[in-house]
Amino acid sequence: MIPPRSSANRSSNSFLPLRLIVLGGVLACALLAAGNVPSKEWADFLTGTAVVSSDGSTLIAAMHDRFGTSLLILLGAMILAVASGMALTLAARRIGLGLPSLLALVCRPLALLPVVALAWAAVGWIVGVKGWPIESLLPHHPAPDRDTWQLAAGREMWKWLVPCWVLALPLAAEFVVRCHECLRRWSRSPLNAALHARGVKRNRIFYQHTIALARAELLEIAQSLGFVSLGWLVFVGDVLGTPGWGAFFAAAIKNGDARGIAASVYVAGWLAAVWSLLVSIVRRVAVARTDRSHPPLDEPQPPLVPASTAALISVLLFSLLGCSFTSSNSTGAWLEPLTGLLSPLVRDLSLSAAACIAAAGSALVMLTLSFAARRLRLPLRSIDTLASSPVLVWVLAAAALLPAWRWLVFGLFIAPAGALIMRDRWRALADSGAMEASRAIGTSRFRAWRMHVMPELFRHGLAWALDAFATLLVWQTLVETLRPVAAADHLYSLGAAISRAKENVLTDVLPVLIPALIVAICALFFRLLSHIVRPASSSH
């Protein structure tokens, strides 16, 4: 779900909060235009005085409480996610015995699980299984004479903690995966080796040096996770009925309310800006300038885990296909509920493939534009800004207004990240020693490019495309859950299957989790394929 790491994330953060606000405003105006709102109202909209909801509330009136609520949940979830992720990762590292890798293996599908299913499953577990309340869904107002400060405080805390934990769970899983990779790289740094050689204790090296060195990168991960969590907040708010920005956005999408959607996008720009500002403050305080060195290079991944996951997926798909033909056979009875999900899965995969092709094409166009702008010395920062923004939020908004073209919308919005990766790799490879040596021995420019740049660039592009495919599959599912689905409707998407199953989530959580798990496993399959394809950073 996190856009693939690129140097842009590290190098293009200047004035990012301001750029995010402007981006949110521009996108909101584009959405207003798409919703046929007269342009003379845009100014009122951007100043917050335009009416955005059916009850006649202006943007400021409708959002000032929601903004605070959402920001608090976002901060709470991020703190819980980062702290829990770090604690788990460090505990696993301390125990050793391959536990860090095992933890990462478990966390990978969890991070790809559509958050909406996770939220419904949480509701099912909390209410249906445990019989606990969810204050945001059904507030309790006991008679004043029966209320005590402990009860009131407990209810209030529980109201905030539920959305925070639900949001934190997938964020923590993603953080564990990223943290595990990051710390593994930094622990192989020359400094670590030198300290180890000098007999410094392993714990001391880790806590005083490795973590200190990785701090900048961990903050970068946290920043991008914050942007991702903004998109997820929409679903958590919707499911848990949290009276924040997310629930407002989800309601606007469900009602097809262009003004509400545009307002939500505009506010999302501000939320993202505040988040990036907070991260930059923490970075300024916590990261010494000297620490801002580049991390050690990636090492090639052992293909065992990706290959075994791929094999698992193949078996699952094969079983589904087999069961669709032999559903009456008793041997396939245990898989019978899954066969109904095969057709939606195929449709979702097809749509994600179309979106992926659109994304590849868009990325190539953006790459060309980026190079052209560089040649003309034009400051083209919009692609960088778009890549470092809550892309899922923009996607949800655009897909709500252009439902028939959502595959193109997906492609257009995910493309900037791909363009940046390709651009950075292209530049790195063009400046590499191999190219310099080729030029020195008189190899033609095209031949040198074909020999030293193109093969690796192609693999990077392919890896990005596979990774994007995984992300698009999850997005596709999430977007579909916001569309109304009647019980009698033909099941056209795994998202619709989740939506349909949510009605009975209090009695049976599995129907919500099964489609989500299929999505997660499929997405993981493509993400791991991407890991296999991606070239290890070479000496180029």
Binding site: I79, A87, V127, G154, R155, M157, W158, I211
Partner: protein
């Protein structure tokens, strides 16, 4: 290093501990019910309009807050509420040319011995100006006639009932006439029949009076007056209902409940076209006099024991509140302000999403609930959530959820009392259906259980009879018989033999008829099709026709241009059924659409209508019902059934089952109070009265509130 470790490991552990503590507190908040119940309402918040409750749930909430004079108890009998007792009596009024004549007549009566007075039931004879008012202690009897004969010796004036109708509100014109007319002294009574009509009783030189009246109204040509003399009378007999209110009853704001409140409530209700139950009975009120703080005397313009039913279930409001909140047709006054009631619960909180009630001081000992909260606007999912978390104790589930819910723990599903019914009305004068055996055959071929299951998802009760089930005078019927072979035999008995194609025929004629339903009502259309399919099995060729609402009522039913029609009717607590089945109602504005005209039934209807003794009603109602149903003028189908989910663990002793009507009032009351449990038998007199010449009072033909059905309004006020 240690600080970093403490932060990294301490924060998630601290958050987990805080989460655990908070969830325990949140659970504890809900775990203590302590006599508190929370109900989750499916739709909009209750409007709390006491006179026009939108749903059965709304009505039952109103029933907790407001108190009528008389209510129907759990046993289906009348029980006193605000009224402590009531008695019927009657007055007879004669008018004389001079006050001296009236005084002489009164003196003549007073001169009769006490034994004669007792025989006549005469309580008083007073001269009031030029009129003699005789008061009799009981209804009926020969006393009034005998006393009137005594007074006839002093030449009382002839009186006449005159009806005037205009095209616009008549009250200002009538008041102007009554003030300024030369013959105004002859005007003795005026009764407004709606806004545009008045019935006047004039005594004296009535010809002159009518002449002046005609001249007055005809001078205003735009009014298009219609003046008609209805009847001539020698003396006016008026039934009087004496009601004594309970002492010490108070409104929720602390002020005492007075007789004036009852009078003001009646005026308030009649000032608007609200279709309150038994509105026709309330319309029969000539005037209401208050006698002291807690006694009132209601004068009726026509003799009918069933008019008492007008006070059953009619919430009484405070006169002061009614004065401060003028009525409006939409009942906005009730949405914006909550009138103080005199019921066992008072409103303690009301906003757009919730309504909280608490028992009044006086009722606290009688009820088991200390606080009742009604949360509205909850989605079905939120409702289930509320029940699962212990937040809600009562909810009204969707029909589709009921089977799953019935399997759940700590939950029982109950059904609320019916509000309306659906029936097929036969045109007994239709050439195809004129034979009773043919109609009986169709009834036998109707599988009502299947219709309920198929069309209502089980949310309906089979209904038989013409009265609201559960009332003390409504008979209990065995389950209706569905027997195709008997139906076939009956049809053959009527002369309809099935041919080789299975269609019933008789020489030169097929058993084909039209089943009329209302346009734009999908549920009714489905029902009509299902009935047609069922009747086809005995060879009936049924053509389903959907008529627009206006045409359905005014043209097709009123003109009797139908064979069979599906009708929806609200239940009303009254034993007077004359409007539907009396032969005088088959013409004009009458509602006897089926065309049934049977002298015996007419007599039974008249007798029942004039019955003042509630204890004697069941016998007469039973006789009428048996006689009427034997003629098969209609085929009762089913009633509505609103289901409610109740947490069983709260009130475990509630043992009623799904088939027994459940209501909120009985649910919250701990034990019936002595007042609530004592059925009251009002002293009654009995005298069959001739059917009034005027068409029966206007009645409502509401749509059947079939669940999930879009209601199509039918013009009311036929």
């Amino acid at each position: 290093m240690y600080l970093a470790r403490a932060f990294i490991f301490g924060l998630p552990l601290g958050a987990l501990a805080l989460t655990w503590w908070s969830v325990q507190q949140a659970r504890a908040s809900r775990s203590v019910h302590d006599g508190e119940i929370v109900a989750m309402l499916p739709g909009a918040p209750p409007a709390l309009n006491p006179f026009m409750p939108a749903t059965e749930v709304d009505r039952q909430i109103v029933d907790l807050i407001h108190e009528p004079l008389i209510r129907i108890g759990a046993d289906g009998r009348m029980q006193p509420a605000l009224a402590e007792r009531w008695d019927w009596s009657q007055t007879v009024t004669c008018w004389f040319a001079k006050p001296d004549d009236a005084k002489s007549a009164a003196a003549q009566l007073k001169a009769r011995n006490a034994e004669q007075w007792i025989t006549w039931g005469l309580e008083s004879a007073k001269a009031e100006g030029a009129s003699l008012v005789m008061r009799f202690s009981k209804m009926g009897g020969k006393g009034p006639d005998a006393a009137a004969e005594e007074a006839a010796a002093f030449s009382p004036l002839a009186a006449e009932v005159i009806r005037v109708e205009l095209n616009e509100p008549i009250r200002p014109y009538h008041e102007h006439f009554a003030t300024h007319a030369a013959q105004a002294a002859q005007l003795k009574r005026a009764w407004f029949d709606g806004a545009n009509a008045v019935e006047i009783i004039a005594a004296g030189d009535v010809a002159k009076f009518i002449e002046e009246l005609t001249t007055y109204y005809r001078s205003k040509t735009t009014l298009r007056p219609r003046i008609e003399s209805l009847s001539h009378i020698a003396a006016l007999r008026e039934p009087v209902l004496d009601i004594a209110l309970r002492e010490g009853r108070r409104w929720h704001d602390g002020s005492p409940v007075m007789a004036e409140d009852v009078r003001a409530t009646h005026a308030y209700v009649m000032s608007q076209p609200w279709q309150v139950p038994n509105r026709d009975a309330l319309r029969e009120v000539q005037s209401i006099e208050t006698v002291g703080a807690t006694r009132l005397r209601v004068f009726y313009r026509r003799e009918s024991g069933a008019v008492l039913c007008g006070w059953i279930g009619l919430p009484i409001l405070s006169a002061q509140w009614l004065r401060e909140h003028p009525s409006d047709a939409e009942g906005r006054a009730f949405a914006e302000n909550t009138p103080p009631g005199a019921g066992i619960f008072a409103v303690t909180h009301r906003d757009l999403s919730s309504l909280a009630l608490a028992p009044t001081e006086s009722a606290r000992a009688r009820v088991r609930v200390k606080r009742a909260t009604f949360a509205s606007g909850a989605s079905p999912f939120q409702t289930k959530l509320g029940f699962a978390t212990g937040e809600a104790d009562l909810f009204w589930p969707d029909a589709s959820d009921v089977p799953a819910l019935q399997k759940g723990r700590d939950l029982v599903i109950r059904a609320m009392p019916p509000r309306n019914r659906l029936l097929v009305l036969w045109n007994t004068r239709s050439p195809i259906l004129e034979n009773v055996a043919a109609r009986e055959a169709l009834a036998l071929a109707t599988d009502r259980s299947a219709l309920i299951a198929q069309l209502l998802g089980g949310r309906g009760r089979i209904q038989e009879g013409i009265f609201q089930p559960g009332l003390w005078f409504a008979q209990s019927f065995p389950p209706p018989v569905f027997d195709l072979s008997r139906a076939q035999s009956k049809l053959e008995e009527a002369g309809w033999i099935r041919d080789v194609e299975g269609m019933a025929k008789r020489p030169g004629q097929r058993f084909a008829f039209e089943l009329l339903t209302i346009q734009g009502n999908a549920q009714r259309q489905k029902l009509a099709n299902a009935l047609a399919a069922q009747w086809k099995k005995i060879g009936a060729d049924v053509r389903v026709t959907a008529a627009p609402p206006d045409e359905f009522l005014e043209k097709r039913l009123a003109g009797r241009q139908f064979d069979a029609a599906i009708l929806g009717l609200d239940f009303e607590t009254t034993w007077d059924q004359s409007a539907f089945w009396h032969s005088s109602q088959t013409t004009g504005d009458g509602l006897n659409f089926s065309g049934i005209a049977d002298r015996q039934i007419d007599l039974l209807l008249e007798e029942l209508r004039a019955e003042y003794d509630p204890d004697r009603v069941p016998e007469k109602a039973g006789a009428l019902e048996d006689k009427l149903l034997a003629l098969q003028p209609m085929l009762p189908l089913f009633t509505d059934m609103t289901r409610v989910g109740v947490r069983s663990s709260i009130f475990a002793e509630q043992t009623s089952d799904d088939s027994t009507p459940w209501n909120l009032r009985e649910f919250v009351i701990k034990q019936p109070s002595p007042a609530d449990s004592t059925p009251v038998t009002a002293p009654a007199t009995h005298q069959p009265q001739p059917q009034p010449k005027r068409p029966a009072p206007k009645i409502i033909l509401p749509e059947m509130h079939v669940p999930d059905e879009k209601t199509i309004p039918i013009p009311k006020g036929r």
